[in-house]
Each structure stands twice: as C-alpha cells, then as structure tokens.
C-alpha cells in the first residue's frame, strides 16, 4: 500500500486493552476449577492505512469502533501491540522519548473537548508559549511573542485576551486556542479527534472554515476523526470507515458518498438526517454493535449484515481494491452479491 507522497503509513496496527483488573478480579470458577481469566477490549485489529501529503483523511465510525484509539496510536500516545507506524519513511512507533522529539514537532493533535484539553491554570500566553520554549529553546522572548501574536491572529482570537484563562472563553473560542496550540510549532501533520462535535452548529461552521483555511495556507495534512458524516463529506479527500476495530471501507470522499460499497457504509449513510428532506428509506441493521471484548468470528459485521453467509461467519474478509480505487473488506462485494 505504499504510494508516492505518502506522509504517514499505518501497517497492520493492533491495539488491545486489558481491562481484567487485579488478581482477585481475574479469578473465575469454571468446570469445577478455579482459574485466571483475562478480559481484553480489542479496540483496533489489524488496520492498515496510508495518508498522502496534503490530503484530509477522515476516519468515521460509531462510538467504540476504535477510531480515537487509532489516532492516539499514530501519535504514540498508546504504543501499538503489533504493527508499525511510519512517518515520512521513518518508523516512529518504536522510538525512545528523545528520538521521538523531532516528530512531536511535526505531528500535532487537536482534541475533542475544549473544556478539558486546556490547562485551567494557564493563561492563553502560557499555553501557547510552552511548546515553543520546549522545542525551540533558542528563541528569544520577543520572537516567541511575535509567533504567538501571528498564530492568534490566524485563528481569530483577539490578542488583547492573551492574559486570560480558559474559563473566560466560550467553547468556540477555546477550540480556537486549542487549534492555535496545535499550529504554533508549524506542524506538517495534524490529528484532529472530533474537533467540532462539542460545539454548536453556527460555531462548528466557523471552526471548520478555520481548519480548512489553515490547511490551505500551511499545506497541512489532516487525519480527521469524527462520527459526523456531513462534516466528513465536506472536508475530506478520502474517508476510512471503521467498524469494531477493523477497516471496512476506504474510498475517495465523493465516491464513498455517491456509491458506498460495504453494507455497513450503506446503512450508516442512509441514517444521516438531511435538512429539508423527508427520510429516504433507511437501511435497518439487525441488532446492535457487539462488544469489542468478544469479537465475532469471520467478518465482524456478519451478525448484522443482510448479505452474510457461511463464508462471512468463518473467514475474515481482506481489504480488496475495486476498479475505481475504493478498498472494501467484504465477501459479498467480492462475490457480487450486494444489490445496490
């Protein structure tokens, strides 16, 4: 899956979390014997992706599908259980703290909740100057102030507010400060984890415009994590759809919305309420998302899929590339059993 201009590639990443607790919590009584049992949440299972320079790749899915975990693995906030992360040709998931530092400058993150992601005891100035002082100790105070001024202007926060604390700002303003913190080191790559989902619609539009503008002006590459499909349609170059920790479809944004292939993507798209349209026929899914503790065998979607057959229950589908470049992991699509 290596293509030209690849800036980030994620190779077969697996991330499981052990939630079994302490020794006593693990004790189980089974078949007349006492034993220990570990419980793991299988958050991300064998996901491979690459992100091209300058594009916006969105990862979508419902809660618990592993999209945020994937974002954190990319940044090295969680070490992957297996698999590799390559950034600009260098493997970064096994680096030591010091070796990782130059990459931290290049890859920045914007978090979902602007109320939780800013330190309440730091002023805007302190929040913005900290990354500069850490990564660029050679800069003088004047240079730092110039830089802060420039970034604040770009994100539309009044420079008179530089001595204020986060609680004095509204959600939208805080998210702007959060974005300013992400931009201040002139990164190449930004991981944005649900950056607009905590905001009201009119503020959401302001922040999306800001992110798109910053992307154009600074030639940024975005890995955009969200559950809001109308936002995805608006900003993405390509879209990756995740379900229960696996990638089920990866396509260009226009192709995905015009012609979704995977049965899960079809159902997901049909559920978006569109302003001014009475609901078209929604594709109903059977049951609910299974827990990532006990993953279904074969295709993880088979229990809810109308096209599921024997093969889907037993064999994990591979991500296959279609004629138009869309990648789909589905036996039914491969066998042409899906009626569009």
């Amino acid at each position: 899956m290596n293509e030209e201009n690849t800036i980030l590639s994620i190779k077969n990443v697996v991330k499981h979390f052990d939630i079994s607790g302490g020794f006593l919590d693990q004790l189980r009584f089974k078949n007349g014997r006492i034993g220990l049992e570990k419980i793991t949440v299988k958050a991300v299972n064998d996901v491979s992706l690459f992100v091209k320079k300058g594009e916006t790749l969105s990862v979508v899915g419902e809660s618990g599908c592993g999209k945020s975990t994937l974002a954190r693995v990319v940044l090295g906030l969680y070490p992957p259980d297996s698999g590799e992360i390559h950034y600009g040709g260098t493997r970064i998931d096994n680096l030591s703290h010091e070796q990782m530092l130059p990459f931290r400058k290049k890859i920045q993150m914007i978090f979902q909740d602007p109320y939780a992601s800013l330190n309440p005891r730091k002023t805007v100035q302190q929040t913005l100057e900290e990354p500069l002082r850490f990564h660029h100790p050679e800069l003088s105070s004047n240079e730092i102030n110039d830089k802060i001024e420039q970034v604040m202007e770009q994100v539309g926060v009044d420079q008179a507010w530089i001595k204020r604390y986060p609680h004095e700002f509204s959600g939208g303003q805080r998210q702007r400060i959060s974005i300013a913190r992400g931009l201040i080191l002139d990164p190449e790559f930004i991981v944005a984890d649900e950056p607009v989902s905590a905001l009201d619609v009119s503020i959401q539009a302001q922040i999306l415009n800001l992110l798109m503008k910053a992307g154009r002006e600074r030639d940024l590459t975005y890995l955009f994590i969200t559950h809001d499909l109308s936002v995805v349609r608006h900003i993405s170059t390509r879209v990756a759809v995740m379900y229960l920790g696996t990638l089920c479809e990866l396509a260009k944004a226009e192709d995905l919305f015009a012609n979704p292939c995977h049965p899960y993507t079809k159902a997901l798209l049909s559920a978006i309420p569109v302003v001014g349209e009475k609901r078209a026929k929604q594709i109903k899914l059977k049951g609910e998302v299974p827990t990532p503790v006990n993953l279904p065998t074969g295709c993880v979607f088979h229990a809810r899929c109308v096209y599921a057959n024997e093969r889907c229950i037993n064999q994990v589908p591979a991500l296959l590339t279609q004629d138009n470049g869309t990648c789909v992991a589905c036996h039914a699509v491969e066998e042409n059993r899906v009626i569009s």
Partner: protein
C-alpha cells in the same frame, strides 16, 4: 380552546444574586392532537427551559414570571404541585437527553415501570406488569419479558432510550416532550429511535414536542418548527417552509452553516460571525443584531415582534 396545548406569552426568570435574568422571554405556541413540533436552537437559547416549564419542572432559582399554559382548555400553569403531579408523567410525559442518567441504576426495569403506573393509577402489580410488557413490545425491544428483571447497566444506550420511551408511554399520554432524545446516541441508533417516536405518534395520535439542536432530525420528523434565539422564538411555521425558505437571517445562517446543505464540499461554509449573547448580556433591540448581515438602525433600538412573513411563517425581523 380547541388546542391540546397552548402556551401564551411565557416568561421564565432565574433569580440570581445580581438580579433576575430572563431565560424565556414571551414565548407563545400551540400544539394540536397528534401534531409534532420541533423546538430548535443552540445551547442556551432556552429550548429546554421551555420544555421544562410546560410541566412545571423549573426548579429554584428559576420561576415562571408571566404567561399562561393551557392543556385541553385548563390552565395548568396555575395548578398546585399536587394537581400538577396528576398531569406530569401521566398526561404529558417527558423523555430526557441522557439515557444513562434517567433510569435509576439500583432498581430493575420492571420495578421502575410498575412504580410509574402505580403512582398514577390504582392497579395491581400483576396488571401493571402486563401493561409494562405490552409497552416494551410496542417499542420493539427483543425478549421483553426478560428485560423486566434486568438492571439498566445490562442494556446498551439505544436499548435504554427505548425503555425510557416505553415508560413514557405507560400512562398513554397525550403529549410527549422529548429533550434531545438522540444526542447521546450514534447515528444508526438515532435513526431507529426517531422512526420509533414517529411511528408511536402516528399510531396513538400522540403529540410530540421535539427539543433538539439538530435541524436534520427536526426536518424529518416534525410538521411545525419553532426556532429559538436568546430566549425568544424568532421563527415559527411549517417545517417544510421554514427549512426551504427561512425568513429570519439567523435561521438562514443556521441552515447554511450545516455542511452539505448549500455549500459544495471543500468550499468555505457560510458562517454566522460571533456567538449567541449570554442571557445576562442581551443586546438592546433585536438580540441577533450584532451577528446579522442585514442589520439596520432600527434593529439596535426596537425589539422585533413575531409577525406574518408569508407562506404561513411567523418571523421576528424588522427587515423581512
């Protein structure tokens, strides 16, 4: 009074240390049998407070300072607490936003359903359980009999919201007030819950007040819409008309700022500059004037009234 519910010039204030603030300022609307009304607005617009005040759930320091609410011709806004209890949860039910918080975690689903019924009717436990089971079937819960003995933590979010809907249906209410019923849920579950609410309203001829910030959801479910801004209804009319031809600049901006409505992917979204004023600091004249692209002198001095703007829409704007 031919209307099922009529809210007249409702005003709700909150008494704070530095004086009263007005959360709802002169809100009026009507609801007929089987009708579905959407109350839309951003956080702090007063949509939830409006919903709460209908069944007098406003708690201190808030109070209804003006206005009347009629239910089937009776002025329920003047009812005592005792009398109100016979309406609340019985004739008018409420569904809240967070299905994780609404159910009591230490009692079984069955217990909570029987309790609700016994609070409103003289009924034996066995009969109450039969009704509970019937309502659980009605909201399409798989293996309903088994659910009665389960605790809330054993169920998923979507399932819990179905249970809450089933509880609200127990007493066969005339009106359901749903406050952001799907905001905490995923989109596929949201679509199912909305379908269910719509189906129930139609089969039982129940009226629905849907409080939400999501214009997409409102435009698919409701027939009428009231858009709120800073404590006032600024546009009120048939959902189809308002969504297609919004009159008020705020409604227009709100619709255009949603990705995928008028703007092509990749282009800048139409944005409303600034943000909604806080209730302590509402500008004089039209509350929207600092953000409005049409603003003229009159907007900063005179508060616009809701008036007929054609197409059956009422809008509060001087310039339309």
């Amino acid at each position: 009074m031919s209307h099922l519910l009529e809210v007249q010039d409702l005003e709700v204030k909150f008494a704070l240390r530095f004086g009263d603030i007005t959360a709802i300022d002169g809100v009026s609307f009507v609801l007929d049998k089987g009708e579905k009304l959407g109350l839309v607005g951003e956080s702090g617009a007063g949509k939830s407070v409006t919903g709460f005040s209908i069944i007098n759930l406003i708690s201190k320091p808030g109070y209804i300072s003006k206005g009347k609410i009629f239910f089937k011709g009776n002025e329920i806004s003047s009812y005592s607490d005792e009398k109100m209890r016979k309406i609340r949860g019985n004739r008018i039910s409420m569904i809240f936003q967070d299905p994780m918080m609404t159910l009591n975690p230490v009692f079984t689903i069955g217990f909570q359903m029987v309790e609700t019924l016994q609070a409103h009717r003289k009924i034996s436990k066995a009969d109450a359980q039969d009704i509970a089971l019937e309502k659980l079937k009605k909201v399409h819960i798989p293996s309903p009999a088994q659910r009665l003995s389960q605790y809330p933590h054993e169920l998923s979010g979507g399932m819990r919201q179905r249970i809450i809907i089933a509880i609200s249906l127990l007493t066969e209410p005339a009106i359901i007030i749903a406050d952001e019923p799907t905001t905490a849920l995923d989109v596929t579950i949201q679509a199912e819950i909305m379908d269910l609410l719509q189906e129930l309203c139609e089969s039982d001829n129940m009226a629905l007040i849907l409080i939400t910030h999501d214009l997409g959801v409102v435009s698919q479910v409701t027939e009428k819409i009231a858009v709120m801004y800073a404590g006032k209804i600024i546009e009120y009319g048939s959902t189809d008309q308002v969504v297609k031809n919004p009159i008020h600049p705020y409604t227009e901006g709100l619709i255009k700022s949603i990705p995928g409505t008028v703007i092509k992917p990749g282009e800048d979204l139409v944005q409303i500059p600034g943000m909604m004023p806080t209730l302590t600091n509402i500008p004089p004249g039209c509350a929207f004037n600092p953000r409005c692209y049409l603003k003229e002198a009159i907007c900063t001095t005179k508060t616009p009234e809701l008036k007929d703007a054609g197409n059956g829409i009422l809008a509060a704007c001087h310039l339309k």
